[in-house]
């Protein structure tokens, strides 16, 4: 088990390899479809300090506001591949060290992870209770009015947030490897040599 503390650095992230299980500590920010489009088209400066050497979490949380303070109630990952066209450029523009989501991403992102020194971390799909418990504090929220709760950019402080490195900066992706092996086996089952 590796501890990943945010903000991190290129050096630390380049040491991470696919299959590593990490626990994340520190401040990161949620972003999904509307936010990625916004980051590329509007290039807002106010967000740069939050993204620098940190992680983007693909998550549309369920939140609660009590006495003026926000908290996360359920916070599982959403499917990442929708951000494939944006992710590489976003990582480069804002010097992001990685993304957390589910299902993995494609070749363009894998290439960006290599060039930039970044990782793709797979959070556990459906782990809503435990992941919400890992979010210790909601520090700030951007674009809440404009994008709505699931799409807003939530700045969160996490502790012991579990994830697995499934794409690394060495052009390795568990998703491609598992798929090519399972497809070979599926072919053997479907077209047996008689």
């Amino acid at each position: 088990m590796t501890e990943l503390r945010l903000p991190t650095s290129e050096e630390v992230v380049r040491k991470l390899k696919v299959g590593d299980e990490v626990h994340i500590f520190g401040t990161m920010i949620t972003a999904r479809d509307a936010a990625h489009k916004f980051l590329i088209e509007e290039r807002p400066d106010f967000i740069r300090p939050y993204l620098e050497n940190s992680l983007i979490y693909h998550c549309g949380p369920v939140v609660k506001k009590k006495n003026g303070t926000w908290s996360f109630v359920a916070a599982g990952p959403t499917t990442s591949i929708r951000e494939e066209p944006y992710e590489g450029p976003v990582m480069k523009e804002y010097n992001v060290r990685g993304v957390i989501g589910k299902g993995g991403m494609g070749d363009k992102t894998l290439e960006a992870l290599h060039d930039q020194g970044g990782v793709y971390l797979h959070a556990i799909g459906g782990l809503a209770s435990l992941l919400a418990q890992s979010v210790k504090e909601v520090k700030e929220v951007f674009m809440l009015e404009e994008f709505g709760v699931p799409e807003a950019m939530w700045v969160i402080e996490v502790e012991n947030f579990p994830a697995v490195v499934t794409m690394d900066s060495h052009r390795k992706s568990i998703h491609t490897e598992v798929k090519s092996k399972s497809t070979e086996q599926a072919q053997r089952l479907i077209h047996p040599v008689t």
Binding site: G19, A74, G104, Q133, S182, I190
Partner: protein
């Protein structure tokens, strides 16, 4: 003979059923995840993921919060004694659904496909989905399943014969398309999955047959010997694909395979695959002679 219903009481009983379904997994499902965890190799992501799933289930049960934030499509299969009013039952279920949504037991998930507007209370056309069946028994049995979007997106339907897969119109052809479906899904439906298969019917009843299988107990065995054999064979072979929990690789790709059939017209041979994620939320409520049982 119809049973006497006190609307307020039944509404709160159904509300309790929804709470149970959203915040707790059935014992057969928990057991199968525990078993799977034992079989995975030490030190692998597969093993620790399964451990986390079990901890998440405990946390949800303790905090009375949803196991997964996607509380899905709510699917009801209601068996009722002759003479019961299904219209009345429908209204009571709707009221219980609204209440569960208000109390954050269900996420508002009913979106109008044309306007894109979320109804906010989980009510809408075919939402919740209810299937009524009269039976000769004098009990009322309400089965509820919460089925999320991620696993629904990797479900599918095939039409046999399928020449790419070399799948003919027989059980061996069924075997091939199920292997193909699970391989295409990879970890995306939040594997390990539970696979309901419907053979035959028209397009719609084929899917319905597949989904009905998901109400069966994971430990049961198909009464049709040929289908029982196919279920066992598929269970074993699908786990040989090595996709593993979340698609990280490993020995557990599926927790079970359940097959059902419906008569078809001679020209059609459909096979539907209902993929259910590990967050396999289904429970039932039975009312007989004033006695109420949840399982």
């Amino acid at each position: 003979m119809a049973i006497t219903i006190d609307e307020a009481t039944l509404e709160s009983q159904i509300y309790d059923l929804i709470v149970l379904a959203s915040t707790d997994l059935s014992p057969d499902v928990v057991r199968s995840i525990e078993e799977a965890q034992k079989h995975e190799d030490d030190g692998t992501p597969a093993k620790s993921v399964l451990g986390m799933l079990l901890r998440n289930v405990d946390a949800a049960r303790e905090n009375r919060t949803p196991i997964c934030q996607d509380t899905g499509t709510n699917i009801y299969h209601v068996h009722y004694p002759a003479g019961q009013s299904t219209l009345q039952l429908r209204k009571i279920i709707e009221r219980a659904t609204e209440r569960a949504t208000e109390e954050s037991i269900l996420r508002p998930n009913a979106v109008d496909p044309v306007s894109g507007k979320n109804s906010g209370n989980n009510l809408g056309t075919e939402n919740p989905f209810m299937h009524f069946e009269e039976w000769e028994e004098e009990r009322l049995k309400i089965d509820l399943m919460l089925k999320g979007g991620g696993c629904e997106n990797v479900s599918g339907q095939y039409k046999l014969p399928d020449s790419d897969l070399d799948a003919g119109r027989d059980l061996n052809g069924v075997y091939k398309v199920v292997v193909d479906a699970v391989n295409s899904a990879q970890g995306l439906g939040c594997a390990p999955g539970i696979i309901g298969v419907g053979i035959g019917g028209d397009r719609a009843t084929s899917h319905l047959t597949a989904k009905k299988q998901l109400f069966r107990n994971l430990d049961d065995s198909n009464p049709e010997p040929e289908l029982a054999e196919m279920e066992t064979r598929l269970y074993k072979d699908l786990n040989s694909l090595g996709i593993g929990p979340m698609g990280f690789g490993g020995k557990t790709t599926v927790l079970g395979v359940k097959i059902g059939t419906a008569h078809r017209v001679p020209a059609s041979y459909f096979v539907s695959i209902a993929y259910m994620c590990w967050a396999y939320r289904r429970h039932s409520l039975t009312i007989e002679n004033g006695e109420v049982i949840y399982d």
